[in-house]
């Protein structure tokens, strides 16, 4: 179980020591990421055999100290992030050593976000991811990348200040920061002030999760940062931010008002994202807006309390984690404007075929995994049996229709006419191919994957077990 701590400590150690490694610097990062994957797999086996458990930092038991909760969900996200970082490791960069250090820090912080069971500790890791991503965004040589990074930094720091205010309010009301302990004192937060704290935290953590009012940065950052950074932010980091929201909703804010708030923001994200995607004229922006909508769907899924919602959100998150990075990579190097994509389907058939596969899965065409994820979402939303959630299901369907309209427009353009432009170099061929193969594997192994997700959702939604594990089942 202590492997979970090593998944944070070792990448940080590697990042700190990176300036001293000389010629080895190129290999330290990928090696640390691979090591994290191995640790994650070993943890997966332990959790499968022994069930979830709790790791105590420094031997100071909760709620005084910080604890890690190691369950299937956390291991899944930590391992997936490590795999994504390894797949997307940059081949060339402006300053390889510094960029490697930032990526390693992002990796460590992501694992921390997946495992930590303490509200303020989650905030620290969230900020760590944020600071690492500002640097990575600005590392692009694209014109205006730094401007996009600066605007992103200002918005994100505003959100973080709000989140910290929310955490302060939570501490003022409940007197503790441990999530399991807060779950015991959830009554203290069931007041206007408690709800305000939730709203503040949602605003703060929603910046990375691309939630509705605070996602203005998404399009401009994703269209100026390098494709691999974009893929990492859209694919990995946003899910981890939503994971915090999931923990809050499951453990602390199971009250209807908080759930409705999350649902509303999710639906607004879907609607605004899909409409903006429909209007977008260039591919990176279109993909960025679609990413907002997809994350809105995950947020809507998490607003369904209980196992069904967690399962749907998890399936959507993992699907998006595979598909969206691959789409950004395939689109990298193509002309940005959608209209100039004409004829590329004939010029580069394999690349276009990969794009078609990914786009269809994103849309949710039946045999592909995206279909099952959306089906789970609709089932979960309708399973609530309340008008607001029924309406949400309708909004999701409407969003899918709009998404279909603009994605099919791109596909149509790809296979229309001919181009005499030379085929662009496909720099992201290897990572995009790996992700495409992963998608096909998930499709073929739908049953075991579904079983694993079911188990993860079951463990995550079992709040009494979480509280008992963390606090040692001690009576109040």
């Amino acid at each position: 179980m202590n492997a979970s701590v090593l998944m944070i400590a070792l990448p940080l150690l590697a990042a700190f020591l990176l300036p001293l490694t000389g010629p080895l610097a190129r290999w330290v990062g990928p090696f640390a990421a691979a090591l994290n994957i191995a640790l994650g797999i070993s943890l997966w086996q332990t959790v499968a055999q022994e069930g979830p458990s709790v790791v105590v930092m420094g031997g100071f038991a909760a709620p005084l100290g910080i604890v890690f909760r190691v369950d299937t969900l956390a291991v899944l996200f930590a391992t997936a992030l490590a795999a994504l970082v390894l797949i997307l490791w940059p081949r060339t960069s402006a300053d390889p050593r510094r960029e490697s250090a930032l990526l390693l820090i992002l990796l460590a912080a992501g694992c921390g976000l997946a495992f930590s069971g303490d509200l303020f500790n989650l905030f620290v890791f969230y900020e760590l991811i944020a600071v690492a991503s500002y640097g990575l965004v600005a590392a692009s040589r694209e014109r205006l990348a730094a401007a996009a990074g600066l605007r992103y930094l200002v918005l994100s720091a505003l959100g973080s200040a709000f989140a910290l205010l929310g955490i302060g309010l939570v501490y003022a009301l409940a007197g503790t920061l441990n999530l399991a302990d807060l779950s015991r004192h959830a009554d203290a937060l069931n007041s206007p002030l408690g709800l305000a704290a939730f709203a503040l935290m949602l605003l703060g953590f929603g910046v990375k999760a691309e939630l509705f009012p605070v996602n203005a940065w998404v399009a401009e950052v994703y269209s100026t940062a390098t494709a691999r950074t974009t893929a990492l932010l859209a694919g990995g980091v946003s899910k981890l931010a939503l994971l915090i929201v999931l923990h809050l909703v499951l453990l602390v804010y199971a009250q209807p008002a908080a759930l409705s708030l999350l649902l509303t923001l999710g639906l607004l994200s879907i609607v605004s994202g899909q409409f903006a995607g429909y209007r977008a004229a260039d591919l990176p922006r279109m993909l960025a807006y679609s990413s907002i909508a997809q994350l809105g769907m995950i947020a809507a899924a998490f607003s369904v309390s209980g196992e069904a919602g967690v399962l749907a959100g998890l399936a959507l998150a993992l699907h998006h984690l595979i598909v969206k990075p691959a789409l950004f990579l395939v689109g990298d190097g193509w002309p940005k404007c959608v209209d100039s994509l004409a004829g590329l389907g004939r010029a580069e058939p394999w690349r276009a075929a990969l794009f078609v596969l990914l786009a269809l899965s994103l849309l949710g065409i039946p045999p592909l995994p995206g279909f099952w994820a959306k089906l789970l979402l609709l089932k979960a939303l309708l399973g609530m049996g309340e008008p607001a959630w029924n309406l949400a299901a309708a909004v999701v369907l409407l969003g899918t229709a709009i998404e279909g309209a603009y994605l099919l427009r791109v596909l149509q353009t790809l296979f229309r006419g001919t181009t005499n432009a030379k085929p662009a170099t496909f720099g992201g061929a290897l990572p995009a191919g790996v992700l495409g193969v992963a998608l096909l594997l998930v499709m073929l192994a739908a049953t075991p994957v579904g079983g694993a997700l079911q188990r993860a959702a079951q463990q995550a939604a079992d709040v009494p077990a979480y509280v008992a594990d963390t606090l040692g089942g001690s009576p109040q």
Binding site: F120, V124, E127, A130, V131, Y134, G135, A138, R143, L144, A146, A147, A148, G149, L150, R151, L153, V154, A157, L158, S160, A161, L164, L165, I167, G168, Y171, A172, L177, E220, S223, T224, R279, A280, A281, D282, P284, R285, K336, C337
Partner: protein, 146 residues
Amino acid sequence: METLSTATELEWLGWTFYAGSAGLVLLGCYALFAARHALRLLLGLFLLESGVNLFLVAVGFRPDAAAPILVGEQAGSMVDPLPQALILTAIVIGVGVLALGLALAVRVAKEEGTLDLAELGRRLAATHTPATAEETLPQSGRTETP
């Protein structure tokens, strides 16, 4: 402190703290909404963070309690040490973000020659999308693209 005993005094002190932190937060928010220059926005962020930190310290306050440092064999209550540790962390985070923001501002100023974030946003919106750029520009009252 030992002079603080009556309930009214406590209430006054509480309002001072809350009004101070709320004032700083609001001032920071106002700077973020009204100003457009990057340095002013960063200053506004810093004000906002100070307000949040002041609020956190105020949360840990206890009447008639000492600072959380043991001197000799002292009995009696101490104020809550946890928020103080939290704001130490928060201050360092704030400094890191501010430093990175300044570095980004230096690069932006060198490359673009302006630090007006709204203007930069307009340029960003116009980078790749001639079609959408024309749609969005008229509402901000500009027609020429720099």
